[in-house]
């Protein structure tokens, strides 16, 4: 068993307090239903615990591993829904593409939540709303150069947060 394996209930509790809110936030975004999201998170931790002996922190982070399990859970849920109302679900292959796209979106949105308000604000105004820097500067009561430098430091902060979250290209 690799050191750091997820073998007792305390490990699972720690994993839960570290990652449940992220997994849940993503599950809600991806499934669009808080009840289903709860079930998905519960199933994810149960599967993680059952397979805990196989978790090796040398290979990848706990977070990445939990998201990989959640991915399978969401796919199974999708299959179960697609197969409704019959019990047999042979031949139904849920697509994983929407999951991966949703995960990417969610990670960037989560990173945006974690950077400072000022940085997020200028990125929203200049990039997402496409507003001129001068206008944004005026509204914020700062020089245009400050908006520019906040855009720069905002992107840098975003990069750091994404790295912390374990984002890989």
């Amino acid at each position: 068993m690799p050191p750091g394996a997820l073998t007792d209930e305390r490990d699972v509790r720690e994993a839960y307090s570290a990652h449940a809110s992220e997994l849940y936030g993503f599950a809600v975004r991806s499934l669009g239903d808080s009840g289903l999201a709860e079930e998905a998170v519960q199933e994810t931790f149960l599967r993680a615990w059952r397979a805990g002996e196989r978790f090796d922190p040398q290979i990848g982070s706990l977070r990445t591993w939990l998201f990989a399990i959640l991915r399978n859970v969401v796919i199974d849920l999708g299959r179960a829904r697609a197969a409704r109302p019959t019990v047999s679900d042979e031949g139904v292959e849920a697509s994983v593409e929407p999951f991966d796209e949703a995960l990417l979106s969610w990670q960037i949105e989560e990173a945006m939540r974690r950077i400072g308000d000022q940085h997020r604000r200028v990125l929203v105004e200049t990039y997402y709303r496409g507003r001129p820097y001068a206008e944004v500067a005026d509204e914020l009561g700062v020089p245009e150069g400050t908006v520019k430098s906040r855009v720069y430091y905002g992107l840098r902060a975003l990069r750091v947060v994404l790295e912390e979250m374990g984002y890989e290209d």
């Binding site: 209930e9 849940y24 179960a80 939540r113």
Partner: protein, 235 residues
Amino acid sequence: MKTDGCRHWKEELGAYALGHLSDEERTSLEAHLEGCPACRAEADSLFAVSRLLPHADPERFGPAPQPPPELGKRIAATIGDERRSKRRQRRLRLGLGFGGAAAATAMAVLAIFVLSSGSEGGPEQRVAFRALPSGIKIAATLQPQAFGTEIHMYVKGISSGTLCRVYMRGPGGDEVSAGTFRYRWGADESAVLSAALDLSRAEALVVHAGKRTFVAPLDRGEATDSNAPQEEEST
């Protein structure tokens, strides 16, 4: 590398990565980048971030929903149940000739257990819950897997929103949790669950739906409403 001379240029790099510089600004910045590997590298890493931005939805930058506080407790309780029944199972296996095995051997025993079950991917077994109150339908198929048993549940006719907890009853009456799902009328009538109990050892499939309990013995495939409903279903 990080001289103050580059500071002005660096602060342009964000707008540059977002494509927000005027032609003039871009031309002079690019001239600087030609001769400054540090700024060039910084620009590249910012481009990597800016390429991700279109994937995000700015309407979703607000606070993310948080899991309800009882979810953690529910998971801990389910794991506790499962651990206790697993331990009983293991004790049972150890009692069958592996007595006194050290912790290290327990792993091997589990491996043997999995290998010897040998029924993975075997034929699925259909379970019919019979003698159900009128209007209620419950069915399941069970499939042996390496981890235990995969359960496909199908439920109809109980109150929408009812939480269904599914267990497999093993030898000696131990119940191994297979997970839960919430039944929603017209939406979530089926669910895929799994229990850490080998199908060949399972004696019954048990569904607790709200306050009702339904049991289907696996050998005969019959079911009874073992508890008289304490609360009428209001469908």
